[in-house]
């Protein structure tokens, strides 16, 4: 309950605050599951090159479409490559690109949203209409256009994804700012004559930070799905680099007789997305942003 805050006397260090939030998150079953899945995937992404049992690109025609066995845990694909090796490696690119993509989305979306919320008026109107216009373009078409023009390198994918997923954050950041700017402490800072920059940095960001972070975490999972869709269509990661989206795309024709080669990447991708979503939910609850409380009576 909120009332407990009264009893916490002294100012806490940032480390103590973060660890308290993580502990609160893990204290709920859903938060614990989400965090565990996410941490598992992150650790896997770091160590997978060292634990992978086979070479991910070693093609062996004699081993085509082997069912799971003690030797090949998840079986082999149509080119005789080990599906287990490719699955544990398959999340790395997606995780890295979308992580940095979300950071970019968070940064530009958050700052622009706060700025629009603060200045309001004409600037706000114009910027928001532009954002609306971009929101109305199907992102996958726009992404395909960008990728086919500029290529599928990481340097293109990260900013492009960051841009397209930041638009939604603009709205959230702007709405969160609107909740804050009506408060008297902003009026007070204005009356003292602080600059817009100082007001954003000192007064607004500490109050909207949590809402934007939660939104960013949500965007991360969507972006992951979006990136995998790009790979699925052949515009994300280029072969032979292992990637879940690409693996699903390659193996989907064989589903009827070699289900293992498609199930493994699907489980990998969906578990990561579920993990991020559950974590983001628990994060929101731990910060007290999630207001889904029981109705009275």
């Amino acid at each position: 309950m909120k009332l407990d805050n009264i009893y916490q006397e002294e100012k806490k260090s940032n480390f103590a605050k973060v660890s308290e939030i993580i502990i609160t998150m893990a204290s709920r079953p859903s938060g614990f599951i989400g965090l565990s899945i996410l941490i598992f995937h992150v650790i896997l992404a770091f160590i997978s090159p060292y634990i992978a049992p086979y070479d991910f690109k070693a093609i062996n025609p004699t081993l085509m479409l082997q069912a799971p066995s003690a030797e090949y845990w998840f079986g082999t694909d149509d080119l005789g490559r080990d599906v287990f090796t490719r699955t544990i490696l398959g999340g790395r690119t997606a995780l890295t690109i979308t992580f940095f993509g979300s950071l970019i989305a968070l940064l530009w979306g958050g700052l622009l949203g706060i700025f629009c919320g603060l200045v309001g008026g004409k600037t706000d109107d114009i910027v928001m209409r532009i954002v609306d216009a971009f929101l109305s373009i199907p992102w996958i078409l726009a992404m395909l256009l960008i990728v086919s023009l500029l290529g599928t390198s990481t340097e293109v994918l990260i900013p492009a994804l960051g841009f397209f997923y930041g638009k939604g954050i603009v709205r959230v950041a702007r709405a969160a700012t609107h909740d804050v700017i009506a408060k008297d402490f902003i009026v007070s800072a204005r009356a003292r004559g602080h600059s817009n920059f100082s007001i954003i940095w000192n007064e607004i960001i500490p109050n909207v930070r949590d809402a934007i972070l939660v939104e960013g975490a949500m965007r991360w999972s969507w972006m992951l799905l979006g990136f995998s869709s790009l790979s699925f269509l052949g515009f994300g990661v280029s072969p032979p680099t292992p990637d879940w989206g690409l693996m699903i795309s390659n193996a989907r024709g064989l589903m009827s007789f070699a289900y293992w080669s498609v199930i493994a990447p699907i489980v990998g991708l969906s578990s990561l997305i579920i993990g991020i979503n559950l974590t983001a939910d628990a994060f929101a609850k731990a910060l007290g942003i999630d207001r889904s409380t029981k109705a009275p009576v």
């Binding site: 009893y7 006397e9 402490f185 007070s188 009356a191 003292r192 004559g193 500490p206 009275p296 009576v297």
Partner: protein, 675 residues
């Protein structure tokens, strides 16, 4: 003996803290509500008064749970009942009137429909009968032309009218018990007086028992037969209303009554030290121990029991009530305010007008505001250095708007605001230089909103120091400690967040932040209205002390005339953005006065059952000031005729130097005025 409707027995309600401790919000409450009586429950915020009222209708807030005891209504315990059974009682037998009727009414349903809904649920009337009952109910709560009101939406009614509709809905089920949770707190003084009068009438007319919860002893005094005083989750005093208000025998009530500013008494009331303990913080001893002037050694470790005194029909929780019994009446002593008035003029508003009207395209291009009937008009005030001038009026009178313009937050439409006789303050914040901004500082109504919840006290006070004086490091820290000491807060407050402070402490931090800029003028916007009465007096005393130390000028906005009387040297009464009366406060509070001042003064509620509010004018709400003539023409009970409607009244000056803007000659004005 009359019949008892509700019996509360040893009720304790609380919650579990994170550490698993049981924290009590209500501690062992026992009381009875008799048929036909009105019981006032009074206490500071956090004393558990609302929790008690809600428990009386079998509702415990989410997160709280019943630890022990029962609320018996018609010999069944409400707290153990199933929701289905409670539904039959709520509305039909026990009805609730909430604090904010505007939020309690569904915004997109018509008033008539909402009352009809209540009737369908809580009565067995047929459709035709219901229709008649609706207008009957609306008539009963004295709403003009019930037929048209029934067709309106809640937002088309004023706050007072909305509250009346809420009363009508509560009466739909002809309840035996009516619970009112601060029903008049958000309303204007005049509206408040009218609603209270209505409640009194309904209590008499229907014989309904009422439980009236409020922090305002003035309102409680007007309606209740019996008063329950709560402190820190306990009943500390319970007895007949008159005895409690005239001869309080509990030190808390005694101190509370002393700390309320009164109209009849100029000067600041005495404040009560400290604040109410947080729930769960009390472990042993009397909960009022550290604020009590009558405490002894035994109060520290032993909790007094509620003792029933037969001869007074009063229950009291104090070891030393006898010493208060001898101390006959509440002798209010006030700290006389010293004025260090200088002749030097510090701020001059001449012909100031402010408009909220939307600019047309042409006006935007030409950068001007064209509005022939602006929200605020013709404001001429000279403010002398070291003076406290108060702007009073109901909501919508433009008092806060004027403050905003002085602070530069709102552009003026016309007129000049001049500082120190020669410096013109430009109306736009961006065009003022930093020094112009420094000399005028604001203190806001609600410290919860005016302090950034994510900043520590140190960061909050550091802001003006860094901005205006560029202080850093040790020097900055020294200055902050210095300022905290001036507002009577210790150094250890520096690392706290606003949520860890009580309301009074938060407001002190806000005061410290305003003084950090070393301003010449401080604008106080309803600075005490969000505070508890016992804390209010302390903040007022602090402001006065700081003013004497620094020679600061205050412009004080308030709707509370008693507070204004206590602190101000001069008063300006505003109606609809136009000045009605300006003068030294001791003269404004005497007659003759402007008819509107008379209305305002008549509606003030005093914590004394013998002083009834005088309702002079109707509580109509006007949305726009009239195009021509006197601003008060719509509600004035002494209107002369066409002249009031066509010509702006002239300023008339009384012998004492009090200016009144009215067509009625001064001698005539004095006649028939109630005094």
């Amino acid at each position: 003996m009359t019949e008892i409707i509700q019996k509360v027995k040893n009720l304790s309600i609380g919650f579990k803290s994170k550490k698993g401790e049981e924290i009590l919000i209500l501690r062992n409450i026992s009381t009875n509500i008799k048929k036909g009586e009105t019981v006032g429950i009074v206490g500071e915020s956090g004393s558990g008064k609302s929790t008690l009222a809600l428990a009386m209708m079998g509702y415990v807030k989410h997160g709280l749970y019943t630890i022990g005891g029962e609320c018996e209504f018609n010999s069944s315990n409400l707290l153990k009942m199933k929701n289905r059974d409670l539904e039959k009682i709520r509305g039909r037998k026990i009805a609730m009137i909430p604090q904010n009727a505007g939020q309690a009414l569904t915004p997109n349903l018509k008033i008539g429909y909402q009352i009809d809904e209540a009737l369908q649920l809580h009565s067995d009337l047929k459709e035709e009968e219901r229709e008649q009952k609706i207008s009957e109910l609306l008539n009963k709560v004295r709403l003009p032309s019930p037929e048209t009101i029934a067709l309106r939406y809640p937002h088309e009614l004023s706050g007072g009218q909305q509250q009346r509709v809420a009363v009508a809905m509560a009466l739909a089920g002809t309840p035996d018990l009516l619970l009112l949770d601060e029903p008049t707190t958000g309303l204007d003084v005049t509206t408040q007086a009218h609603v209270l009068e209505l409640l009194n009438f309904i209590a008499k007319d229907t014989g309904t028992s009422m439980v009236y919860v409020s922090h305002d002893l003035g309102a409680i005094a007007q309606v209740s037969d019996r008063i329950i005083v709560m402190y820190s989750g306990e009943i500390v005093l319970e007895g007949p209303s008159r005895d409690i208000l005239k001869k309080p025998i509990h030190p808390y009530t005694y101190g509370l009554l002393k700390s309320i500013p009164k109209l009849s008494l100029a000067g600041l009331p005495q404040s009560m030290p400290g604040s109410q303990p947080q729930p769960g913080a009390m472990h042993r001893g009397c909960s009022f121990f550290d604020r009590c002037n009558f405490s002894e050694e035994k109060c520290k470790n032993n909790s007094p029991q509620l003792e029933y005194l037969k001869e007074l029909n009063t229950s009291v929780r104090c070891f030393n009530y006898k010493s208060l019994m001898n101390d006959s009446q509440v002798n209010q002593t006030v700290n006389k305010i010293k004025t260090s008035l200088q002749d030097k003029e510090i701020l001059n508003l001449s012909e100031v007008s402010i408009s909220y009207a939307k600019q047309k395209l042409l006006d935007q291009v030409l950068n001007r505001i064209s509005d022939d009937n602006p929200t605020v008009k013709d404001i001429n005030i000279n403010i002398k250095k070291g003076e406290t001038i108060a702007l009073v009026g109901e909501s919508g009178s433009g008092k806060s708007t004027i403050l905003k313009s002085i602070a530069g937050l709102l552009r003026t439409k016309g007129g000049i605001i001049k500082f120190d006789q020669n410096r013109n303050l430009s109306s736009d914040l961006k065009e003022r230089d930093p020094n112009d901004l420094r000399i005028i500082q604001l203190i806001f109504q609600n410290p919860d909103e005016s302090l950034n919840p994510n900043h520590t006290v140190e960061e909050i006070i550091a802001q003006p120091l860094k901005l205006y004086f560029g202080l850093k490091g040790e020097e900055l820290k020294k200055n902050i400690i210095d300022l905290l000491q001036k507002v009577r807060l210790g150094e250890f407050y520096m690392s706290r967040y606003p949520r860890q402070l009580s309301g009074g402490e938060k407001q002190r931090v806000a005061v410290a932040r305003a003084f950090a800029a070393k301003p010449d003028i401080i604008l106080c916007d309803e600075v005490t209205s969000a505070l508890d009465v016992s804390v209010q007096a302390a903040v007022l005393n602090l402001l006065q002390q700081l003013k004497e130390d620094f020679g600061t000028t205050y412009i004080f906005v308030s709707h509370d005339l008693a507070v204004v009387r206590a602190i101000s040297d001069r008063v300006a009464v505003l109606y609809q953005g136009r000045l009605c009366e300006v003068g030294p406060s001791k003269d404004v509070y005497q007659f003759p006065s402007h008819p509107y001042t008379e209305v305002l003064l008549g509606a003030v509620l005093e914590p004394d059952p013998d002083i009834k509010p005088k309702l002079v004018a109707e509580d109509i709400v006007e949305e726009k000031p009239p195009q021509k003539g006197c601003s008060f023409q719509g509600r004035c009970s002494r209107i002369l005729g066409d002249i009031c409607k066509s010509e702006v009244p002239p300023w008339q000056i009384t012998n004492s130097g009090n200016s009144i803007r009215c067509h009625i000659p001064l001698k005539e004005l004095q006649k028939d005025q109630i005094n």
